[in-house]
C-alpha cells in the first residue's frame, strides 16, 4: 500500500501554522542537543488513567491515517513509565501542558477534542522552532520542555512506527519482530 501525499499531510499538517509539505519536522541539531537533556531522575511507577487516555489520544492523532495497532504503542508508553526512570514524569508533564493548550484554544481537554482540534493542538509540539524569530513566535511557549517531548515521546513513537507498521505500509508482509516463517522471504513480495 502506498501512502499518498495527501494522507500524510492530513496526518501531520493539521494547522495552517505548519509549513505545507512538512512531515515531522524535527531538526537534527535540536535533537542532538536533546541528548544533553537527561530524563528526570524520578523512579518509575504506574501510569495515571488520565495520562494513559490522553497519550492514547495522541497516538491515534499522530497515526490517524495509518493502520497501526494503537494498543501496542500504548503498551510501549506504559512499559516506559513503569520500568524506566523519568518517563512517567515526562508523560505526565506533557499531558498537563497539552490539556492546558487545548483548554486555552477549545475550552476542553485534549481527549474531549475532535480529531481536527486535536491535530491543531498537537501541531506546535510537532514543529520545533528553527530560528530565533520562530522561537519567539512559539505562542504556546513550550520552551526547552518541548525538546524533551520531541526526543522521548514523538521520536520514540515514530521510531517504533518505522520499525513496525511502516514496513506493512510500504508493502512488506510483516515487520521484524514478528514470526515471519522461512518460506516467504524466498519468494517475491506478495504485494507486488
Amino acid at each position: 500500500m502506498t501512502i499518498t501525499r495527501r494522507q500524510f499531510l492530513l496526518t501531520f499538517a493539521g494547522a495552517t501554522a505548519i509549513a505545507a509539505g512538512v512531515g515531522i519536522p524535527f531538526v537534527l541539531n535540536y535533537v542532538e542537543q536533546i541528548r544533553l537533556l537527561p530524563l528526570p531522575d524520578i523512579p518509575p511507577g504506574p501510569m495515571d488513567d488520565v495520562v494513559r487516555e490522553t497519550m492514547r489520544a495522541v497516538i491515534t492523532t499522530i497515526f490517524v491515517n495509518f493502520p497501526v495497532d494503537a494498543d501496542r504503542y500504548e503498551q510501549y508508553l506504559v512499559y516506559h513509565a513503569e520500568k524506566i526512570n523519568g518517563y512517567g514524569k515526562v508523560y505526565q508533564d506533557f499531558v498537563t501542558e497539552l490539556n492546558r493548550d487545548s483548554a486555552y484554544t477549545y475550552s476542553k481537554t485534549f481527549v474531549d477534542c475532535n480529531e481536527r482540534e486535536r491535530r491543531f493542538v498537537l501541531a506546535p509540539w510537532l514543529r520545533m522552532p528553527i530560528t530565533r524569530d520562530e522561537r519567539l513566535m512559539d505562542g504556546f511557549g513550550h520552551g526547552i520542555f518541548s525538546l524533551q517531548v520531541s526526543q522521548h515521546i514523538f521520536r520514540e513513537l515514530l521510531t517504533m512506527f518505522m520499525n513496525t507498521d511502516a514496513w506493512i505500509a510500504v508493502g512488506y508482509e510483516a515487520w521484524p519482530g514478528m514470526p515471519r516463517g522461512l518460506d516467504n522471504y524466498t519468494q517475491p513480495l506478495s504485494s507486488l
Partner: protein, 522 residues
C-alpha cells in the same frame, strides 16, 4: 578459600563450552563471570529491546570495571565490542560459523608471510565437526565450491537464499562471482531442545534460542550439578608457585568488595582476548617477571582485528531487504587467492537483517510521503567486506599506567594498520566495483579505508606455538611453563584468516577440554 577441580574465568562461548564438556563428565567446575547474569532464551531481552526499544544497562558490566586505553588508528571504541555478562560476546554475535581453510593454518608455508599454526587443518577437522554438532549449525556446503573439506555433513539443513539474492546471484554468476548459502549456528529446524527459527529477524534478542547463545550450554552444565556459576566477580590474579603450578586465583566481588582465593587443579582463562592477556600480565611474579607465559616476550603481541567494512548497493528497482534475520548469502570465492602473499583474503557477506533504525529516519524533514522516506531503504542492499588482517609489531596489547577501581592496571591497545591492510582494502574496492558492474547499481558506497569495525573479532596476543621462545601457549592452549593453566578463546590465534573466528574458537575449546580431561585430570 573456595575450591573446585577446574576453575574457568569467563562464561563466554569458549569458557561455557569447556564448562559444559567437563561437567558432563562429572568434573566439578566453577565459572567466574565478571558481568551480570543474562537470561536465556532471550525472551526478556526481546521484550525490552525489540518491543520497547530499551537497552537495559543492567545487562552489562559497569564501564568503570572495563576501561581500556587505546591508540593508533582504531576507528571505534574497542570496549563497545565487548559484552561482560553470562554468555559474553556470543550473546550478540551474528552466529556465522565457518571453518578456516587448510591454507589459513599454513600461511607462511604457502605464501611466505606471517606464521604457520602449530596444528594442521586435518588435526582440527574432527573438532570442527564436534563444534558444529554442539552449536547446531545449519548449512549445506554443496552450493559452495570454496568450502574446506569435511568428514561429516552439517547437522541441520541450510537457510535458503532470499528471493532478491537469487536474482542478484544470477547476475553475479554471469560475471563469474558465486553467491552461496552460509553455515550458521541457528536452528533451521528443531534441534535438541532449541526450537527451529521462525524468522523473527531480530537475532540479537532471539526470543526462541534459535540463534545459539552460550546460555544454552551453561544451563545444561549447571543442571548436571557439577557446574557452579558465579556472576559479578572479577578475577584479579592467578597465583603461581615457584614450581610453576597455578595454585589459586584471587577473586573480588564487584558489589560487596569481598576478596578471597579460589584453588583448583586446573585453571582456564576465557575472559576474551583483551582480558586474557591483561590477567596474564597482572599475574607476573618473581619467576615470571614479565607475565605468565611470557618467557619469549610474545605476550600481548601480534594482535589481530578483522577489518570489516559495510557497503551499500543501490538499485533502480526496489529490492525489499530485511525479510530474513538469518544470514543467507555470502561469497567465499575471494577468501583464498593467488596474490595472498601480498594482500589478504576477503569474505563477502550480504545482509538481510533489519536496520536498527527502521525503514526510514523518524526525523524525515524533507519528505512528506512515507514511500519516499523509505525509498533509500527499499532500493538498497547492505553488505559487508570481511577482510583478513596481518599481525605485526604495530598491533599489540600491554598494560597502561591507568588503574581500575581495584587498583589494577587497565589494558592499553595499540593498533596501526599496515601496508597489507591497505592492499587488502584496495582488493575490496576492486571486488566492490565488480559487484556494482555485475548487478547494475545506480549508486553505491563502500566504507573508506579509515572506517571499519571488527565485530568483536579480537584475535591473538597469546599466540599458539610449540616453543615458549615464540609463543605464549602450546598447541593445546596450555600456558608455557605452567602445566595446569590454559587459555580458551581467540587469544591463541596465530593469524586472523578472513573467516569468522567463533567456530574455530569452539573447536579449539573442545580440543583443550579433551586434553584437560585426558592429561591433567586422570
Amino acid at each position: 578459600m573456595t575450591e573446585s577441580t577446574v576453575a574457568i574465568i569467563g562464561s563466554g562461548i569458549a569458557g561455557t563450552t569447556i564448562a559444559y564438556l567437563l561437567a558432563q563428565q562429572g568434573i566439578d567446575v566453577h565459572v567466574f563471570e565478571k558481568g551480570p547474569d543474562y537470561a536465556y532464551p532471550q525472551s526478556e531481552q526481546f521484550v525490552e529491546e525489540i518491543l520497547n526499544q530499551y537497552d537495559n544497562p543492567a545487562h552489562d558490566l559497569d564501564r568503570k570495571y572495563r576501561q581500556i586505553v587505546q591508540d593508533g588508528d582504531i576507528p571505534f571504541l574497542v570496549d563497545n565490542e565487548r559484552f561482560f555478562r553470562v554468555g559474553g560476546m556470543a550473546t550478540r554475535w551474528g552466529a556465522i560459523t565457518l571453518r578456516m581453510h587448510p591454507i589459513d593454518l599454513a600461511i607462511r608455508t604457502h605464501y611466505g608471510r606471517g606464521e604457520d599454526w602449530p596444528i594442521t587443518y586435518d588435526e582440527l577437522e574432527p573438532y570442527y565437526c564436534r563444534a558444529e554438532t554442539l552449536l547446531g549449525v545449519s548449512g549445506n556446503t554443496d552450493d559452495n565450491p570454496f568450502t574446506p573439506p569435511r568428514s561429516q555433513p552439517l547437522p541441520l539443513p541450510p537457510f535458503e537464499l532470499s528471493y532478491t539474492e537469487r536474482v542478484l546471484g544470477e547476475k553475479l554468476r554471469d560475471h563469474n562471482i558465486l553467491l552461496h548459502t552460509t553455515p550458521q549456528a541457528r536452528t533451521r529446524t528443531l534441534y535438541e531442545t532449541r526450537p527451529g527459527c521462525q524468522n523473527y529477524g531480530v537475532c540479537r534478542a532471539c526470543p526462541l534460542g534459535a540463534r545459539y547463545s552460550p546460555g544454552y550450554h551453561m544451563q545444561l552444565a549447571q543442571q548436571t550439578g557439577f557446574c557452579t556459576l558465579q556472576t559479578n566477580v572479577s578475577v584479579r590474579r592467578i597465583n603461581v608457585d615457584q614450581a610453576g603450578v597455578a595454585q589459586s586465583v584471587l577473586v573480588h566481588n564487584n558489589q560487596t568488595g569481598e576478596e578471597w582465593e579460589h584453588s583448583a587443579q586446573v585453571f582456564v582463562l576465557a575472559p576474551g582476548t583483551i582480558e586474557t592477556v591483561r590477567l596474564l600480565m597482572l599475574s607476573a611474579n618473581d619467576q615470571f617477571r614479565d607475565g605468565l607465559g611470557n618467557s619469549g616476550g610474545q605476550l600481548g603481541k601480534r594482535l589481530g582485528f578483522h577489518q570489516i567494512r559495510y557497503a551499500l548497493l543501490r538499485y533502480p528497482e526496489p529490492v525489499f531487504p530485511g525479510r530474513a534475520g538469518p544470514h543467507t548469502a555470502e561469497s567465499h570465492q575471494f577468501i583464498d587467492h593467488e596474490d595472498r602473499g601480498s594482500y589478504g583474503g576477503v569474505k563477502i557477506e550480504f545482509i538481510e537483517s533489519e536496520p536498527r533504525s527502521g525503514i526510514a529516519d523518524p526525523t524525515f524533514t524533507e519528505m512528506d510521503n512515507l514511500q519516499e522516506a523509505a525509498d533509500f531503504f527499499l532500493h538498497t542492499r547492505w553488505m559487508w567486506f570481511h577482510a583478513e588482517s596481518d599481525m605485526t609489531d604495530e598491533k599489540y596489547v600491554t598494560l597502561s599506567d591507568t588503574r581500575d577501581p581495584f587498583g589494577d592496571r587497565i589494558p592499553h591497545i595499540h593498533h596501526q594498520s599496515s601496508t597489507f591492510d591497505a592492499e587488502t582494502y584496495a582488493f575490496s574496492q576492486r571486488l566492490f566495483q565488480r559487484l556494482n558492474e555485475a548487478t547494475g547499481t545506480v549508486s553505491s558506497f563502500l566504507q573508506p579505508y579509515e572506517g571499519w569495525t571488527s565485530w568483536s573479532h579480537h584475535l591473538g596476543t597469546c599466540r599458539m606455538g610449540t616453543s615458549p621462545d615464540n609463543s605464549v601457549v602450546d598447541p593445546y592452549c596450555q600456558v608455557h611453563g605452567i602445566r595446569n593453566l590454559f587459555t580458551a578463546g581467540s587469544s591463541s590465534f596465530v593469524e586472523t584468516s578472513p573467516v569468522n573466528p567463533t567456530l574455530t574458537i569452539v573447536a579449539l575449546a573442545i580440543r583443550t577440554a579433551d586434553y584437560i580431561m585426558d592429561q591433567r585430570l586422570k
